[in-house]
Assembly symmetry: C2
Homo-oligomer: 240 residues x 2
C-alpha cells in the first residue's frame, strides 16, 4: 500500500480541494499511481486554531510517513480587526509565529518531508461585498482587503526564505492575470476552477523543482502494455 504521500494542510481552500475542478483532485490525477494525496483542510480556521490540531494530526511518533506537504493559511488570519470576520483575525507577528510552529511540528513528525508554504490568494473586495449581499448579510466595508492580505502573503514569503522552504506566492501569481478578480475567485476569496488550476500548476511546479517530478516517478506496477498475455508473471518479476 505504501507510496509517497502528499499532505495538504490549510483552510477552506484546502478543504474544498476535491470539489469539481479542485486542486487536490488535480494533484492526485497528476501523480496517479505514484503518490496519494491526503487533504487536511479546515474551513474558517486561522493559524491560531490550527495549532490545536497539530498534536493529533502530526503526532511526533507517527508511523505514517509524508513525502511532501503544503501549508496554506493566512486568508482567515488576515480578516480585519473591527470588521465582520474579526473573530478570525490573528495579528501578523502571531501569524508568523504560528506558521513557524506548524512547520516545526511537521519537520519533527515527518523527518525529511518537503514543506511548501503557500500564501493566501488575493482578495477581490467587490467580490466580497457582492457575496455578502448574495447571502442577505450585506456589509458596507469588506471584512478582508487585498492590501492587508498582501501583508500576510509577504510574511509567508519572508518566513519561507528564512527557513529555506520553497513557497508559492499565490497572492502575486493570480494578480499577474488581467481580470483575476472574477476569473480566479468565485466570491472574492475562494478559487474558481480556473483559480484551482493556477494553484495546481504552481504546486506541480514547486514539487517538480524539488525532484518530485511526476513523469520521473515510477508507476507502482507495470503498465498493462508491458504485460505479456501468455506469461503475465514475467512483468511482475515472479518466477513460477
Amino acid at each position: 500500500m505504501s507510496r509517497p504521500r502528499f499532505l495538504l494542510f490549510g483552510d477552506s481552500i484546502t478543504e474544498q480541494g476535491f470539489r469539481n475542478g479542485g486542486w487536490a483532485a488535480a494533484l492526485a490525477e497528476t501523480y496517479s499511481r505514484k503518490a496519494d494525496v491526503l487533504v487536511r483542510g479546515y474551513g474558517g480556521y486561522n493559524t491560531r486554531w490550527a495549532l490545536f490540531l497539530l498534536d493529533e494530526l502530526f503526532p511526533p511518533n507517527s508511523s505514517m510517513q509524508i513525502t511532501a506537504a503544503t501549508i496554506f493559511f493566512g486568508a482567515n488570519d488576515a480578516a480585519l480587526s473591527g470588521r465582520t470576520s474579526e473573530r478570525q483575525y490573528v495579528p501578523i507577528e502571531e501569524f508568523r509565529s504560528n506558521l513557524e510552529k506548524i512547520v516545526h511540528q511537521m519537520k519533527v513528525s515527518f523527518p525529511g518531508v518537503l514543506i511548501v508554504l503557500i500564501t493566501p490568494p488575493p482578495i477581490d473586495e467587490d467580490g466580497r461585498l457582492e457575496f455578502a449581499r448574495s447571502q442577505n448579510k450585506p456589509i458596507e466595508l469588506p471584512e478582508r482587503t487585498n492590501e492587508n492580505t498582501g501583508i500576510y502573503a509577504k510574511e509567508v514569503i519572508y518566513l519561507a526564505k528564512e527557513l529555506h522552504l520553497p513557497y508559492i506566492d499565490l497572492w502575486s501569481k493570480m494578480q499577474e492575470t488581467e481580470g483575476w478578480q472574477k476569473k480566479f475567485l468565485r466570491d472574492g476569496l475562494h478559487p474558481t476552477q480556473e483559480g484551482n488550476a493556477v494553484l495546481h500548476e504552481e504546486v506541480v511546479r514547486v514539487f517538480s523543482e524539488a525532484n518530485l517530478r511526476a513523469d520521473e516517478m515510477p508507476l507502482d506496477f507495470p503498465h498493462h502494455s508491458k504485460i505479456d498475455g501468455n506469461a503475465p508473471e514475467k512483468a511482475f518479476h515472479i518466477v513460477i
Copy 2:
C-alpha cells in the same frame, strides 16, 4: 492522521477516478473531513493480472486499516476472445475465481472491512467502433459487446450474493436511462462526467446502507463556527 480509509481497487475506471468530475474525487468531497479515499486503479488490468498485485497492495499483516473498499473489475476480463483485445480476456469461471481471491485477501488483510463489488459498466458497441476509428485503428467488430459484458456483470452479482457482500449493478443501472450510450460513456466504455456521477451516487448509497452515512459521521475537528474567538481552547476540550 487516522480517520476511516476507503480504498478503490479496479481498472482504468478506478485509475481515472480523480480526473475532472471523477467518482473518486466526488467521494472524497462527500466524505470531506471524515474519510480518506485511496485509489488503486490499474488501467487495462484484468483480474488475472490484478492477482499479482495483492501481496504488495494488501499484505496480510498490514498496519494500515481500511474501513471500506470497492472491487471493480470485469470490463477487461470481458474482452472477447478472437478479437483485438484478446490478450485481456479472462474466461468467466476464472474471472469469478480471481474475484473471490481478491475478496479473500482483502478480508484477511483488513479485518472487518466493508467490501463492495461493482459490475463493469455496459458497453456501447458503436462507441467502441467510433473510438477505434478516432485512434486510426479501425476495427470491423467491437472488441467487447454489451451482451458478453453483461454475463460478467451477472457473475459479479452471483458472487456478491453468495458471499453476502453489497454490490452495485452498474451494468443495469446505467441502462435504465435512455441514451445511456452517449450520456454515460465517452468512448463506449469509460464513463463521462455524468457516468461518473452515477457511479459516485451508487457508491454513496451502498456505503450509506452499510452505516457509512457521511452526514452521520463526525467531523474530525470542530466546525469553525463552534470556536469561541476569545477562548478557542474550549472547542478543543483543552484545559489551560
